[in-house]
Symmetry: C2
Subunit: 386 residues, 2 copies
């Protein structure tokens, strides 16, 4: 086996979850997933497709009807995007891996903004690329900010790809439109590709009356810019387990992406794609409900955490995580394991997402019943002895 | 984009299919897929899972219940295989790609036996490996055979991986147990990994009264041999569109494969895995029916082809393809396109699978109604003017 693969770090989140395995009394907030089932009309569409016998191979790039529905959905949010720029993928993570395969030769230089979902930094290593991380910086009060000068200085003509996830998992950090403009303009001069993981774009709370969406690179980019945007049905449509996502890319890339899809997964099941079509048809019912519920969850959890002594946490502008630091505790992974064992509270360790997040913990607040969050805080409080 | 990816050859099969796009009068035998819907009990299991709301993330390596069912199924065919050697993948092709990622560093040397499904030779290129093809050799009468001396001479201590697909798509060539023994023994001395694509193992017609299965490397290998076997639900269970397969590997590799699954697709949908469990529960009804029907198809098609002048074709021992040469014709791809346009007959060009198969054509005989095959031969006959 490759040493690269042997040394790929196992998920620290899963390590914590394993520590709680078989304990039904743990309140688990470690995974990035709601505990709510996919809405019935979406499931029904898949069941009907199966009933019709849609069990054959389909187009590498996705059903034309789904690609066209995605193009309409994306265009409504970000301005005109043609369907020939869209590829359906077997989950957001597959879209990310396909993008890495399309762009990264062995030895290529990649810059990633961290902390970030560890898959984004593992994938370049699998492709034999060299990774450089540019850390966000935590401010007093628990807000994380980008050091734009550091990021732009790191992106040179030797940089093949920059990877940015905003709204960010785990910090909730979100790029402003102006920051996106600076990154695009800089990458145009260096010839660097941007891989934007925007799967949390709809989980955005900054101005609920006006915003339906966080700022996207698609709002500013030209169709031919070296930009690939990764999207997923997982978060905005409660479809984590389905493995359905999509890519938006320059039109001349799409054909080549189709080849890579053939060589990785060949296609996504038709019945899963039919569920995606139904989800988009019901988007105006499903997503606003999901988002407003998540905002209720956030606003139930964060003030309770803020009221505890020795905790630093900001209310996130986007995403579904409260990211916080507990003063006077050591290694995040040890801390998270102790919380499972001693408090029955399941959180993700910050250092799973980057070294700079050592000492932090991630709490997924996507809970059908916000009361679970209150109970979780109570357990933390008891454990802290406050 | 990477030059490697731009230059990856597009599927010549798809190129032929595109030439027939929008023509409902084409009798298509180009893809490796039956035209029969997945059996009802299998579809029902997925629908019931969706009804129960099983729409969440699941284990990277697959549901324990499915891994255990796969281990039992495999053990019954090939002797004891523990569940900790099994990983569930999102289709056979994903299992192949994961194996390449696990084994191939940039620049590594790979030997592949060809002609073969083009995905198997594209994947090492995506990983930046160097590929050397060892061609099977066609004999008078249309049977393809392995030059074992050439293969073993090509596998040296510098060879990281040897890729073998038997029963073979497209030729129907099948490894004998003795040939498998020679390859294993040789690879033990060179330290070379064997990646065995055995997805056609159940479609084997050599001795229908005794054989349930083609010879497998698993019959001979030790648990710790450097061997990865790729399997799929697609062919033996009529589940092409589902994207469900599995790997059997040395136990110490499984944990690392789980990481690669996390970074590629995270997991396979639970409802798809539930369908897999149902398929295995019904294996003794489904697979023998599929195989005996395919044998009827083979025996309907091949003698008719053999009766045509200027055609060289052997009855395949395994798989679901008749692979034949038409004397006096040029490039396979041109020929296949002309057959679509001029005869309304859709076949796959031999040179899609390797240069040595230039001049050959692949006919998938997995047809619910064997009469379609007879009609196809009639069209070929008319086109040939015989």
């Amino acid at each position: 086996m490759r040493a690269t693969v042997i040394h790929l770090e196992e998920s620290k989140i899963r390590e914590v979850a394993n520590a709680g395995m078989g304990r039904s009394d743990v309140l688990a907030f470690w995974f990035g997933e709601s505990d709510e089932v996919t809405p019935e009309p979406v499931r029904r569409a898949a069941m009907e497709s199966l009933g019709r016998g849609e069990t054959f191979y389909s187009h590498n790039l996705g059903l034309p009807e789904l690609r066209s529905a995605i193009a309409s959905y994306t265009s409504a949010l970000h301005g005109p995007i043609a369907a020939d720029r869209v590829a359906v993928t077997s989950g957001g993570v597959s879209g990310l891996m396909l993008s890495m395969q399309a762009l990264l030769d062995p030895g290529d230089e990649v810059v990633a903004v961290t902390p970030v979902w560890p898959n984004l930094t593992a994938q370049p290593q699998i492709m034999g690329a060299r990774l450089r991380c540019i850390p966000l910086r935590p401010q007093p009060g628990g807000v994380w900010v980008l050091d734009m000068d550091a990021l732009l200085a790191a992106i040179t003509p030797s940089t093949r790809l920059v990877i940015v996830n905003a709204p960010n998992n785990p910090t909730g950090w979100t790029l402003t439109r102006d920051e996106q403009r600076q990154i695009i303009q800089h990458c145009r001069t260096t010839g660097t590709w941007i891989l934007a993981d925007e799967v949390y774009e709809r989980l955005y709370y900054d101005d609920p009356s006006n915003s339906v969406c966080a700022p996207s690179f698609l709002d500013l980019a030209e169709a031919e810019d070296r930009l690939v945007v990764v999207q997923s049905f997982s978060k905005s449509f409660l479809m984590t387990g389905w493995r359905l996502g999509w890519l938006v890319m320059p039109a001349e890339m799409t054909h080549h992406m189709g080849k890579l899809i053939e060589f990785n997964t060949s296609c996504t099941s038709v019945f899963t794609q039919q569920a995606g079509i139904a989800a988009l048809q019901h988007a105006s019912e499903i997503t606003p409900r999901v988002v407003s519920h998540l905002q209720v969850c956030r606003d139930a959890l964060v003030p309770l955490l803020q009221a505890l002594p020795g905790i630093e946490v900001a209310s996130p502008r986007g995403g579904m995580y409260a990211f916080f630091r507990l003063t006077g505790q050591g290694d995040s992974l040890d801390l998270a394991k102790r919380l499972v064992r001693e408090a029955g509270l399941g959180l993700a360790p910050g250092n799973a997402f980057g070294l700079e997040a050592q000492g932090w913990l991630r709490w997924c607040f996507a809970s059908r019943d916000p009361e679970r969050l209150v109970q979780g805080v109570q357990r933390l409080k008891t454990w802290l002895g406050v």
